[in-house]
Symmetry: C2
Subunit: 406 residues, 2 copies
């Protein structure tokens, strides 16, 4: 009888080298964070999940780390649920595929059984690697977590949504999964690399317009899906004005009709850009009940809970002591550019003792202070963030050393 | 009275420095090409289009060049129609916006009239430039041409489709618009830059799976939208196998059900990949009537006629005598890599007299010969293309010089 090895994954708080600092600008701070060590348990032999109490086996651990930032809106409920739930969803998803992850190449059949002699060749031709299973697990975990949040919010009569930025260090690689407008960057002595993209009504314009084109009923005749440089008014009627539709990356001119005067599906620029006049992000978790004020128009059909995942092969980086990943909610990036953050990081780490165990926490604190109009001599900009700000600083060197043990 | 300037655009054959060579492997060669000089006529004063016979005005020309390759399938009809039509569609689209293109910045209103004092600021904030109007004109021209082809094919009882790769040199910039699996690359002494991406069932997997998820009736119960490393069979039933769905860039495992044994929406690898078992490309023109063999399942809902447009600012390149853009149908790229083509181009142009007016035509011919198992010492690969092959070699130096006059 073949019995597949069993796995489990535990997350617990870990503070060594990591610090979560909320700017505490709002009474009910809507940012939430979670971090912990991942221990994926594998058993040499095991049994079906519903008979867990029978498990008697030697344990083997695949360890990693998990960091997550959730920037809430419409109340903190969704962000709190996400901080409490997403790591469990990820554990379940990783558990379901860990045998495939541990193999030299993920086998066509999870059992390892070969139905067709050329199965390994098919997998090889598709270029499927262990990291693709982690990416898939992250994608599915976000979706599963969004379903849980939807049910929990409905059951408790709460509302709200949140963005989600997750970093997972596993088997020598750092996975960054992002749904929303938080950001993670890699800062090294001679390199700055953005590890995530932002998902906002502006960056996802074509996807959102396409949806409104496919399902016009979603706009209930109240909005126009077309983009114009500004909201049109009566004086524009009959004029040929700049516009673009879902299929266009470029611009063209169209003669203004009455329906073009409706409120735009996506309106405003940069930080002010809003989806249906309501939401500043186009991906995230929650918002299942969110409607445009005083209407029955739902936001959720336009939102994606799927993250974009990027992979950083830390073991191939020749990591230096001062190499870090900075993860932060939009409050930081609204006032500091990647380059400014990199300058602050480098000058801080050069000036602080290498053996100070608190220096990465102090660095995170210093970055926050720089958004609050304090200690901002280094940037010389003096810009101040009125948003919540949360920052993780992940020192890659200790990760690479820990990770190399496996 | 304000009368907007009128424009017109003519295309005629131009062979100087350009050569179209078809490999003539098939009796009815399905590759088609078109090229010509663009003359966009602007009048200082003019009248409505339907009174064209009244036009009496001094002419002013905005000149450019147009090159296009169309790789037909299911017969040459669509490719021939595209070669005869697309430039006219582009002319119409450019005519409609040329006043905006000639302004320092495209005005909010094509008339130039300012309804709102801060209109220029709105346009500035959106970052809308003249090149965005050309991109929009190309996007709309492809769509318009696809509509024309659909009507013409239906009226004449013909069938077929084609890919389309278009390059337009205008106002110091080269625009490359691609819908299909042809490719354009820039070759310079120390640089190779791909100017287009290919659109195939594999590269557009998520968009195609998403459509099948949204409109399951498009598959008529005959296909599965899920991707597996190979087509599943009875022995796989009940096993957990590698798969991915529309929302996944990564992979996961699922337990095989009976419906997973259906023929896959996208099947095969690389050159063998097919959409609904039928088509090797996911963008292009035509195919309005195409159906899966012996069924009523249509291909067209899954195909896009919209190109992806990239812009090369030739005036900023400090163009050298030997800098060229190579445009070719997939027959070339199936047997030669970008690097191999660049090697062939560089060694050919080094060895040939600078003042030979035919050297770019000879270069195009040499590239074709290299795919036919002749003159392929340079690549040492000896791979042979059995597909039609068409190549344009565009010398950028003469373009930049001509273009600088405007």
């Amino acid at each position: 009888m073949y019995v597949p090895p069993r796995t489990s994954l535990r997350v617990w708080p870990m503070l060594c080298g990591i610090r979560v600092i909320n700017a505490e600008k709002s009474e009910f701070n809507e940012d939430q964070a979670a971090c912990g060590k991942l221990c994926i348990r594998r058993c040499e032999f095991g049994i079906e999940e519903d008979q867990e109490w029978l498990t008697v086996c030697p344990e083997e651990f695949l360890t990693g780390h998990y960091w997550a930032l959730f920037d809430g809106h419409g109340g903190p409920a969704a962000a709190i649920l996400a901080a409490n739930t997403l790591h469990s969803c990820l554990r379940r998803q990783l558990e379901a595929v860990v045998e495939g992850m541990m193999a030299p190449q993920p086998p066509m059949h999870l059992s390892g059984r070969c139905v067709c002699p050329s199965d390994p060749q098919f997998v090889e031709e598709k270029g499927i690697r262990a990291e693709d299973l982690v990416i898939g697990a992250l994608e599915n975990a976000f979706q599963e977590c969004d379903d849980v949040i939807g049910r929990e919010l409905e059951a408790s009569g709460q509302v709200g949504g949140c963005t989600a930025l997750v970093a997972v260090f596993l088997q020598g690689k750092l996975y960054v999964a992002n749904a929303g407008d938080s950001r993670a960057i890699l800062v090294r002595r001679h390199e700055i690399r953005q590890l995530s993209s932002e998902f906002t009504p502006e960056t996802e314009r074509q996807r959102i317009q396409q949806l409104a084109f496919t399902y016009p009923e979603l706009l209930a005749g109240e909005f126009t899906r077309l983009e114009f440089p500004r909201r049109l008014k009566g004086d524009d009627l009959g004029q040929k004005v700049l516009f673009r539709d879902h299929h266009m990356r470029g611009w063209s001119y169209k003669r203004v009709e009455k329906s073009d005067l409706k409120y735009p599906l996506i309106h405003g620029q940069g930080r002010q850009a809003r989806l249906l006049g309501t939401l500043a992000v186009s991906r995230g978790l929650g918002d299942h009940q969110l409607r445009v004020l005083d209407t029955d128009i739902q936001l959720k059909p336009f939102l994606l809970s799927i993250p974009q995942v990027t992979v950083l092969d830390v073991h191939q980086l020749a990591v230096q002591e001062e190499d870090v990943v900075v993860m932060a909610t939009d409050g930081l990036w609204d006032v500091l550019s990647n380059e400014q953050v990199a300058l602050l990081v480098r000058s801080f780490l050069t000036g602080n003792q290498k053996d100070d165990p608190h220096r990465f926490s102090e660095l995170a604190k210093m970055l926050i202070h720089n958004t609050q109009g304090q200690d901002n001599g280094a940037t010389g900009e003096g810009q101040v963030s009125y948003d919540d700000v949360s920052v993780f600083v992940i020192p890659l060197h200790s990760q690479a050393q820990e990770g190399s043990g496996h």
